[in-house]
């Protein structure tokens, strides 16, 4: 008898090691695999394709005897069956650092294809796919690659932004802990396409399991991606280092302060050299695109938002986890049908999409399609596609205050609107909460938000107004 249990950080945090030990003690072979992304069921135990979860160590004997209640075949579970898993095709199915498993599941086909068709044609495939940066800005990946490819320099770099600091997001973590070779392959393809021989993965220090898996996978696959070389760099707890120029400064060993643009990192990036800076999901999607064709990928999605998006359902949600689906699905379907509404059973009051810098969206706007342009038109952003659900006990004035507090705590300090504006923002919202000069202070915070939005150097100060102003706009009763 053999069971499969995830060993990603989330499964471990839910007690997967204890469950695995229980099975081993009972003489069962335990294979540690990636997570399916059905987090409410973790620790999820798979036996012969059938799932059990959440499992505690007391359930082990029942599962072995066949007396335990199962969730049925995992592949047929509605949460999985409704998805279009391209980037997460291997999720739940392979051992993260097994080269054999990776080979057996279309591994390295994308890189082989790139080498076969050549660098210029590789970029054309990525352009054709319509793949846009998954970190939040949504800039077309192919255009960025083309810029770096046409820059002339003796050294170029691929930098993978794995500083996934946005609350409500965990897709990067799941890639690195569950399918690290896919990211390595994506970086190697990028390096081949633009003529870069060196790659860095900048991983946040809050992800020790991702760091360990990536380092192990890089060691195991070094000969397959050579002459391209990848090195892991570990962050040190600064949220702002998720901003690309600040991340580059951090790798260079400097304070993680934002750089003014231009020059673009594509032309003057790491150590002043042309650099591709892409998010984990962007690079991790590239092997699939090369293996299956840019047009196949572009057939998914809607409008200018091509392909699929690994959406992360988080916060007070009944069925939280990773849901990869073509762009165009509505927010309401995601929150109510797939997410099953709140975990607490209370009504949904709002969701925050796109992390701490994303807007709060009320249920009255749940017909919004998941699409870069549609969100922008509604004064919201997709960001890294995390959806954090809140029930009706949330106090929106407190959440608006927190957005400013977070910005003050994480500001790199380089530009004034962010550094000072965030602290003044906290003070002003405190006045509003205390009921002092509410109208005047609301006018003041609106003015401050404008200044931060247009005057900040990067998205930290520039986007903090989104959660603040959306909270005020949609939930004015919380500020009176």
């Amino acid at each position: 008898m053999k069971v499969r249990i995830s060993d990603d950080a989330l499964a471990l945090a839910c007690g997967a090691d204890i469950v695995a030990a229980g099975f081993k003690k009972a003489g069962v072979v335990v294979e540690r695999v990636s997570s399916w992304g059905m987090h409410w069921l973790e620790p999820l135990v798979e036996f012969d394709g059938v799932g059990y979860g959440p499992v505690c160590v007391d359930d082990v004997a029942m599962i072995i005897d066949g007396r335990a209640q199962s969730i049925g075949r995992i592949e047929d579970h509605p949460f999985i069956a409704r998805q279009s898993r391209l980037t997460f095709a291997r999720a739940g199915k392979t051992r993260p650092t097994s080269l054999d498993d990776y080979y057996a599941t279309e591994g390295w086909i994308g890189l082989a294809k790139a080498r076969e068709i050549g660098a210029a044609a590789t970029i054309d495939v990525v352009l054709e796919s319509g793949l846009r940066g998954r970190g939040g800005a949504g800039f077309p990946a192919g255009i960025k690659w083309k810029t770096v490819a046409s820059a002339v320099a003796e050294q170029k770099y691929i930098v993978c932004n794995a500083d996934e600091g946005d609350s409500g997001t965990f897709a990067d973590r799941m890639v690195m802990e569950g399918d690290p070779f896919m990211l390595i392959e994506g970086m190697a393809i990028a390096g081949f396409a633009v003529g870069a021989s060196m790659g860095y993965v900048y991983i946040r220090s809050e992800y020790p399991h991702a760091i360990a898996k990536m380092e192990a996978a890089i060691r195991l696959s070094a000969h397959l991606i050579a002459p391209f070389v990848i090195e892991v760099r570990v962050g040190a707890g600064a949220y702002v280092c998720g901003e690309e120029t600040s991340l580059l400064n951090s790798i260079e060993g400097k304070r993680g302060e934002v750089r003014a643009k231009p020059p673009l990192p594509a032309l003057e990036g790491l150590f002043g050299k042309p650099t591709v800076v892409n998010n984990v999901l962007t690079l991790a999607t590239v092997p699939w695109i090369l293996a299956h064709g840019g047009d196949t990928y572009a057939a998914f999605g809607a409008g200018r938002s091509k392909g699929t998006m690994p959406i992360q359902l988080a916060g007070n949600v009944k069925y939280g986890g990773l849901f990869e689906v073509a762009f165009g699905i509505t927010l309401g379907e995601l929150v109510n049908e797939i997410g099953g509404s709140t975990a607490s059973g209370r009504p949904v009051r709002c969701v925050q999409v796109g992390g701490p810098l994303g807007a709060y969206i009320p249920p009255s706007q749940f017909d919004l399609p998941f699409d870069y342009e549609a969100f922008a038109a509604a004064d919201a952003l997709i960001g890294h596609a995390g959806i954090t659900v809140f029930d009706d006990t949330v106090e929106m004035a407190q959440m608006a205050r927190f957005a400013m507090e977070f910005c003050a705590f994480e500001s790199c300090g380089k530009c004034t609107p962010c550094r000072l504006g965030s602290t003044r923002g906290v003070e002003t919202i405190d006045q509003i909460i205390a009921g002092k000069n509410v109208d005047a202070n609301l006018a003041l915070i609106t003015d401050l938000a404008e200044t931060m939005k247009y005057g900040s150097l990067c998205a930290l100060g520039g986007f903090t107004p989104y959660p603040v102003m959306s909270a005020i706009k949609h939930f004015p009763e919380d500020f009176r």
């Binding site: 950080a9 609350s167 990067d172 973590r173 302060e257 954090t388 659900v389």
Partner: protein
């Protein structure tokens, strides 16, 4: 016992070695001391102020020794939505464990979440949080 010299030698041919060196120094000694900063600065041909600037910028790096056990509690939006703020009074009512706030451990669907060393813990409630604090 690793010395700062050993760490500096280990990173001698690395591009942009300062952050990796500081991580290793903190791992070996628990903090980055004034002496360590001066020695690193001299070796990397930086000023002491530049190294201090970097050490003081990053939340993870500390210049003083922390003798208490450290627990990192996530107080980001997703954990707030799942009730982490109700655990904060418990953390603040004691001083044996140093409870640090962290913004996001990437466990946003199963919060409230905390990390002790490299060990992560999810689905915390009053009882589980108390037990975790008592166990470290």
């Amino acid at each position: 016992m690793t010395s700062i010299d050993d760490i500096l030698i280990e990173h001698h041919d690395q591009e942009g070695p300062l952050l990796p060196i500081l991580h290793d120094v903190q791992k070996a000694f628990g903090h980055v001391s004034e002496d360590a900063m001066r020695q690193i600065a001299e070796t990397l041909n930086l000023t002491r102020a530049e190294v201090y600037g970097v050490v003081s910028f990053y939340h993870d790096l500390r210049m003083e020794v922390e003798t208490r056990p450290v627990l990192k509690l996530c107080r980001s939006e997703a954990c707030k939505a799942r009730g982490v703020e109700a655990l904060v009074p418990l953390a603040e009512s004691q001083s044996r464990v140093k409870v640090e706030t962290v913004y996001c451990l990437g466990l946003c669907s199963v919060g409230p979440a905390a990390m002790v060393g490299d060990q992560v813990h999810a689905r915390l409630n009053q009882d589980r949080f108390s037990a975790l604090m008592a166990a470290i």
